[in-house]
Amino acid sequence: MASLNVIEFEKSIAELDENLSKLRRIVMDQKHPQNTADLPDQLANLEQHRTAIIRAWFSNLTAWDQVLLARHEKRPYTLDYIGHMFTGFQELHGDRLYGDDGAIVAGFAKLDDMPIAIVGHQKGRDIKQRQHRNFGYARPEGYRKAGRIMKLAAKFGVPIVTLIDTPGAAADVSADERGISEAIARNMFDMATLPTPIVSVVIGEGGSGGALGIAVADRVLMLEHSVYSVIAPEGCAAILWRDPEKKADAAKALNLTATRAKELGVVDGVIAEPLGGAHRDWEAAAGSLKEALIENLAQLKDLTGDELVERRYQRFRAIGQFTEIEPIHLNGHASGDAA
């Protein structure tokens, strides 16, 4: 079992589920009451056992398992969460400069009765959609659209929610031509001073600068099985060990899980997912996410714009670990390390 990754594990669970549902049908049919008197008990036993196996597995995931879960193709995407959590979504398109990027969606909607500006990366589910969404690799016009909508929200005091789910920003020649680096940098620069509450949640892949370009927020949260990383594990392995297949080692070394991100002070909270991952129960996952958004927005609503901006600055200002060694003084006494 230890040699399986979580996707392979899911396959064996799916096989078990198939057998269990066959068994369930037999129990319901009750065609052989003599031979199968103890079947309902056995079934209940097996179902309990199944839950225990999943729980055990999910309490012991490797970093690479977390990467696979974060990329799971059945995982809810931004528009799925918007559909489950918000009402009256009005999508707004285009950056007014070049085009409209399908890899980032933006607009306004209501969270219960509260108007919210929403910005999120969007992946596709079939080939056509995936191409339209550029596999979630957001382009310069996506970041500029996001920036435009966030500034609009700030102008009218509307809180902002951003949902992060990208393998990284677009890295092709055309992205460079249109200033992908500037587009990401400018969003971080602008988000740092928007006088309205911002909550960002990593819902799937938090792929380096492409993620951070819409994630400079008052509260940064992660779903339990999302990942947030400075570089994709494959890329890290290729650079460090010239071997992309060492991706699992790289995933471990990069400390990209929600738990570690919280311990490092990079994120403020981790939102629990349904047992077995958000993809097993979209409704429940969206419910937990919505609850977290409401809670965090409530904590921010009484702060003034200036207070928000100052606290947001100090929040990011404090991230980093280093020592500061005092210079050797002329009297010959050197002072020690001060963290």
């Binding site: 971080m188 740092a192 600068g209 991100a261 990079v266 670990q321 280093f322 500061e324």
Partner: protein, 307 residues
């Protein structure tokens, strides 16, 4: 302190550490250009500010060389020299890479920060040294850039940053990534204080550094031929359907695509920086000579008035 100009400083060159860019031929008499392969006398190469006398390629500089080639003589005073990287993730081989970087540069990390004057204009300066782990941005580099930007706001002095970096430092994981947000936020604060921020992109300015503080200058200059791009060649080629165009990710290509204000030859940088800062309203500090001659003039006038 007023500059006595570029030619005045030229005599100040000492034998620089030959650890940068061009490979030194063993006896140090000749140097091979990393771009065109031409063998150049090291003395000519250094007199030419490590710009190839044959093809004009601007080789990478150490932080000290950069400072010496740029600011008014003896005007640089370092700040925050004591910041040192730790190994927060216990990342494989990180400590040995840090040790190598320290040995190669004599610096604790890849950024040197300080105050200086350029053509007499007081500035806060930050300079990257690519030979320290490709000047990648971890906690220390991010913190030093932020302190430089904050120092500029506090002193009301323009901030000039010479960028070079392979990007965010993988070995500090998310802590490195967050330096992108931290430095960008500090640049926003400097902008809100109406203090100029000038970026000079040097070879190579890439990835997480290009996608944060390097792209946020009020004015963006670049050295000729500098490699400037979001993704490395391998990643970009994988992501692209088109072939990389001629000169892709060079300073000249970025100029063509609107990302850079001006490409400036190394020898012209002090003049260009001084001129731009003065046009933004930052005048040279008066020198002792200036103050003395001003006092003399006033005394003369008073004597004339009495007389």
């Amino acid at each position: 302190m007023a500059s006595n100009g570029w030619f005045g400083r030229r005599s100040q060159f000492t034998q620089a550490r030959a650890s940068h860019g061009a490979a030194a031929i063993p006896d140090g008499v000749a140097t091979k250009c990393v771009k065109c392969g031409e063998i150049i006398f090291t003395s000519d190469f250094e007199k030419n500010l490590k710009v190839c006398t044959h093809c004009g390629f601007h080789h990478k500089l150490s932080a000290d060389e950069r400072i010496r080639y740029t600011v008014d003589e003896d005007s640089f005073a370092p700040l925050h020299e004591n910041l040192r990287s730790v190994d927060p993730l216990r990342f494989p081989d990180y400590q040995s890479k840090l040790d190598k970087g320290i040995a190669a540069t004599g610096m604790h990390d890849g950024i040197r920060v300080g105050v200086a004057s350029v053509h007499g204009v007081s500035v806060v300066l930050a300079v990257a040294d690519f030979s320290f782990m490709a000047a990648s941005m971890g906690s220390v580099a991010g913190e030093k850039i932020v302190r430089a930007l904050e120092e500029g706001a506090a002193r009301r002095a323009p901030v000039v940053i010479f960028t070079a970096s392979g990007g965010a430092r993988m070995q500090e994981g998310l802590l490195s990534l967050m330096q992108m947000a931290k430095t960008s936020a500090a640049a926003a604060r400097l902008a809100a204080a109406n203090i100029p921020y000038v970026v000079v992109m040097t070879d190579a300015t890439m990835a997480g550094v290009l996608a944060s503080y390097a792209s946020l200058g009020d004015i963006t200059l670049a050295e000729p031929g500098a490699l400037i791009g979001f993704a490395g060649a391998r990643v970009s080629a994988q992501a692209s359907t088109q072939k990389a165009p001629e000169g892709y990710q060079t300073a000249e290509w970025q100029l063509l695509h609107g990302q850079i204000d001006q490409i400036v030859a190394r020898k012209d940088l002090p003049d260009t920086l001084g001129s731009l800062l003065q046009m933004l309203g930052f005048s040279p500090e008066p020198t002792l000579d200036d103050l003395a001659s001003e006092a003399l003039t006033e005394a003369d006038e008073e004597i004339a008035a009495i007389g």
